[in-house]
Symmetry: C2
Subunit: 147 residues, 2 copies
């Protein structure tokens, strides 16, 4: 049971776990804080745009409207991505992981095509470089040219 | 400040935030539980394999050894992915997001090439299908043929 139970909370019976992993019932599992991680990827290009969180309301709103909603931890509010920035995320497909506590949203991005408030397409615009004791960041993605 | 402060905790001064987002200093931010999300993608194919968590020890071990370590929440232990399964993840590149509280690991997978303990390459092997009131899952990825 190495990798096996990496993300599962302790406790579930084997049958319940099998159901969760191999069944067709959607039983989204939220953490103690009511949140689950959602990774957004560009549906056409396939690259990772951002990592954010959904609570149950955000998940429901996303599925009901086809527009991705997150839970803003800083504002403590439901957040329809793009409301201010125009960087809406239209849901193409939502996937769930083995133990149903993380989501992968394949999205089509509106506005300038970006997802990051810093002006990059992706929030992951820096890589970590380590050389013995020194660890620094290096940019791998420039800001988009604003229209 | 819509998308802007989606993931930041409340409180940081503007200068500190700019530093964190636009600087080259690596200041990984862990949650109250000591964990940060890490998304693993296959470095060659680019697809998302899994979402797991790192604490500071896992991050350090990953950077020091070049082999991806996570924190197993279920076992409450440092977890070198692949120790049992053979599905090691050799780090090709580690990226960090804008506010430095999430990581993206580009990895080369050992063993059978998979990441999920259920026998699929990716943990995200089911999509969510919704049709009015009914929400079900559908498989999008079959188990790998075991060697």
């Amino acid at each position: 049971m190495d990798s096996a139970r990496s993300k599962a909370e302790p406790g579930p019976a084997p049958g319940e776990m099998r159901d969760r992993e191999e069944g067709l019932a959607f039983k989204a599992k939220f953490g103690a804080d009511g949140l689950a991680t959602c990774v957004a990827i560009d549906a056409s290009r396939g690259d990772v745009l951002m990592v954010a969180h959904m609570n149950e309301a955000a998940l429901r709103a996303t599925l009901a409207t086809g527009v991705v909603h997150y839970w803003s931890r800083s504002r403590g509010a439901l957040w329809r991505k793009g409301d201010t920035s125009g960087q809406t995320q239209t849901l193409v497909e939502l996937r769930v992981d083995c133990d149903q506590d993380a989501f992968l949203a394949l999205v089509e991005v509106g506005g300038d095509g970006g997802a990051c408030h810093t002006g990059r397409r992706s929030c992951f615009y820096r890589r970590v470089e380590t050389d013995g004791d020194t660890t620094r960041l290096a940019f791998v993605e420039p800001p988009m040219t604003r229209r």
